[in-house]
């Protein structure tokens, strides 16, 4: 596991966006070889999406040969509802970039047969050759996607009933009316994300600190499903200072020490400006 600690939310978002950008560029995707990207929603990745859009607008990054797979979607919420994850992805990402609409996959929470929809989604992922890089976030209860505490660590894409905590936390997007918040969601499983070649988890804010502590400093536990990634060969946790508030000083010092010269944090002022531009 790599733990990359940046000073604040903006820098963490920028680091993550640059990492994703560099990965796509190095992969050199083409018409026969698409780069598959797993994507999250929520307030945490918002800054990262803004940065990726900036890179696209400046001409550094194209999504023409990128396939995306979102992690989750509410069940029963109309797709055009402003709080649906389809709306989130359209407004905050897809409408600003050049991705082919046929390559942007999101689970359909209004499908007639939800189980079949989940099954089909898994098949689409394997047909696309698996996910190269799965970007995710973490909930305050340590969940990844909607894999709430108690979810199997080898689970696949399926329907999940949301925990009371999650529904209450989401109420703020539905006019604080608990009756309007969806109670079920389709989500990729922990196992589905573990199958990705590389996983990047974004964790920012003090309210996520305890979850980060449980995820990386204690054992693998289905009550904190993100902890499963301790057993993934290539995981990066990107966080800001606030998210490290519940970690041991020793852990923080160790990971900060390994990051002498990283992409975003490094001071390229004395280097050739052309090089600096690449990063």
């Amino acid at each position: 596991m790599r733990l990359v600690i940046l000073d604040d939310y903006e820098l963490a978002s920028e680091w993550a966006a640059k990492y994703i950008r560099n990965r796509i560029i190095q992969f050199s995707p083409s018409a026969d070889r698409f780069f598959t990207l797993g994507l999250p929603t929520g307030s945490t990745p918002y800054g990262c999406y803004q940065k990726l859009i900036e890179f696209h607008r400046s001409g550094d990054l194209s999504f023409k040969y990128v396939k995306t797979f979102n992690m989750d979607e509410y069940v029963g919420l109309p797709r055009a509802h402003p709080e649906s994850y389809h709306s989130y992805m359209w407004n905050n990402f897809f409408k600003h970039i050049d991705i082919d609409p046929a390559n942007a996959h999101i689970l359909d929470g209004n499908a007639k047969d939800l189980e079949a929809e989940c099954q089909a989604y898994e098949e689409k992922i394997s047909e696309a050759g698996g996910i190269q890089l799965f970007v995710g976030g973490i909930g305050p209860d340590g969940h990844i996607a909607f894999n709430e505490p108690g979810s199997s660590l080898v689970s696949r894409t399926r329907v999940k009933t949301l925990a009371k905590d999650t529904i209450v936390a989401n109420a703020r997007f539905f006019g604080n009316d608990l009756s309007k918040v969806p109670t079920m969601a389709l989500t990729v499983g922990v196992g589905t994300v573990m199958d990705a070649k590389e996983v990047l988890i974004l964790i920012t804010g003090a309210h996520k600190a305890f979850a980060l502590n449980k995820a990386i400093e204690e054992g693998v536990n289905h009550m904190w499903t993100v902890s499963a990634f301790q057993q993934h060969p290539r995981t990066i946790f990107v966080c800001d200072e606030d998210a490290t508030l519940e970690l041991r000083v020793k852990t923080v010092k160790y990971f900060k020490g390994t990051r002498v010269l990283e992409t975003a944090g490094f001071n390229w002022k004395w280097m050739n400006p052309i090089l600096a531009h690449l990063f």
Binding site: N22, P29, W90, K95, D98, D100, P101, I106, E262, M271
Partner: protein
């Protein structure tokens, strides 16, 4: 080695020039400079499931939507505004053509509900080829951002109505000109005291208050959008009801009605005031007259009374314009009340059965100081309204597009940029000068063309 991996450098001395430093780095790290994927046009295969019609995406613009100017792209297909999110997820479609608006404002095309002619054409003049005149004006007003209008006829003898009305049909706009929404018949059922520039001898009153009076005067009510009448005339209430039942907007004007007579007319269905302040009793604090409708509490729930304002700086003092706007901002409809001489050089011209004299921006009944109409264009009115009232850009634009559409009950397809509405657009710069006009998504006029 990939970017982002740990790289250790040793720098012998700070005196090294930047270029040599660069070469040193290359030598040590063998950084691979991968070619940056170029941003390419979306030349992806067509796979739209709903329609194969080409899709146009207007970008680099600010659009008027939900009463604000938003930095959003505008998508158009088959002459209507398209929902790009639905296109993306339902049809997996994308734009075939992109139009760079260079930072312009995109507003719904302007709608002029009171225009008597222009460029030498007088709609009230009986002629063999009325449609040629209407077409000429329709084409010319595209330059002012007007995409739909109501050709207006002033008080005329029945013979004129019987001859002119059948020659013009409601029709869509296009390259040939702005769309015709229907006639605005201003008179002859108006007050003699407030006739303004209308000819005295052709004024009429209601004999029995039914359809018969209307048919005798006009001959036909087909292709009629609006009628202006004076509500104090006897039997007018039943006439108002007859017209409203036919979907024709009733407007109060050229009248000496008091507030209760005006309110009664509104209760029977009247919904517009023709050029507020002009040709009606002035506001009086014990009887506000028709002007009092702006703040009347007798308006039926759910209904709005709209009022036309000629914002040319001449027909209404800016202070009066501000009073009206502040009292009832959502009802303000900009109209030009343009006459034959609009677009023509100064001199004598004909309006209805009378002769008009142009002096600068003023148009008088020849030999008097009675204003006979305006020669300001719609975009001039929008700019003047914004400057005089201090209102926002959004309000100024809506007064010329959304409000007239709401007045005529066509806001489900015109006067706004909602998904599904007709793509009648006007592109403007920040000073509200018209750069280009579009009807049904097709460019029909461009500045400099």
């Amino acid at each position: 080695m990939i970017s982002g991996d740990l790289i250790r450098f040793h720098f012998p001395t700070a005196k090294l020039r930047v270029q040599s430093l660069h070469l040193l780095v290359r030598g040590v790290c063998e950084l691979r400079f991968v070619s940056i994927l170029s941003l390419s046009e979306a030349n992806m295969p067509s796979n739209k499931s709903v329609s194969d019609a080409p899709i146009t995406q207007f970008n680099n613009c600010r659009i008027l939507r939900d009463h604000t100017l938003q930095r959003e792209d505008l998508w158009v297909r088959e002459g209507k505004i398209l929902d790009p999110e639905k296109l993306f997820f339902d049809e997996q479609g994308f734009a075939d053509r992109r139009v760079d608006c260079e930072g312009s404002i995109i507003a719904p095309g302007f709608i002029d509900v009171q225009i008597n002619g222009g460029y030498g054409v007088d709609f009230s003049q009986p002629s063999e080829d009325v449609s040629a005149g209407v077409s000429l004006v329709a084409k010319k007003i595209l330059e002012h951002g007007v995409t739909s209008f109501c050709p207006t006829l002033v008080t005329s003898p029945p013979a004129v109505y019987h001859k002119v009305l059948p020659q013009i049909k409601v029709q869509n706009g296009g390259r040939h000109g702005a769309g015709v929404l229907g006639f605005h018949l201003e008179g002859p059922f108006i007050s003699a005291e407030k006739k303004g520039a209308h000819p005295q001898q052709y004024l009429r009153t209601f004999q029995s208050g039914g359809l018969r009076d209307l048919m005798e005067a006009y001959g036909s009510l087909n292709n009629v959008s609006m009628v202006t009448l004076a509500p104090e005339l006897a039997y007018s209430q039943s006439v108002v009801r007859e017209l409203c039942q036919r979907g024709i907007t009733v407007s109060l004007g050229h009248s000496v009605a008091n507030l209760s007579q005006a309110e009664e007319a509104v209760q029977h269905g009247a919904s517009f005031i023709t050029h507020l302040f002009n040709a009606m009793l002035p506001f009086h604090h014990r009887d506000p007259g028709i002007v009092g409708l702006l703040t009347s509490d007798q308006i039926p729930a759910g209904r709005t009374v709209y009022y036309g304002m000629i914002a040319d700086g001449i027909h209404t003092n800016p202070a009066a314009l501000r009073i009206a706007h502040r009292a009832h901002p959502s009802g303000l409809v900009l109209v030009t009340d343009a006459i034959t001489a609009m677009g023509l050089p100064p001199g004598h011209h004909t309006l209805g059965q009378q002769v008009i004299e142009i002096q600068g921006l003023h148009a008088y009944v020849a030999g008097t100081k009675t204003l006979s109409g305006s020669i300001a264009t719609m975009d001039m009115c929008v700019r003047h309204f914004k400057q005089a009232s201090g209102c926002s850009v959004e309000e100024a634009l809506e007064a010329a597009s959304l409000h007239p559409a709401q007045l005529l009950s066509i806001s489900h397809k015109k006067g706004n940029l909602d998904y599904g509405s007709d793509a009648d657009l006007v592109l403007l710069d920040d000073d509200l000068i018209v750069r280009a006009t579009y009807i049904s998504g097709e460019e029909v006029w461009r500045k400099g063309s």
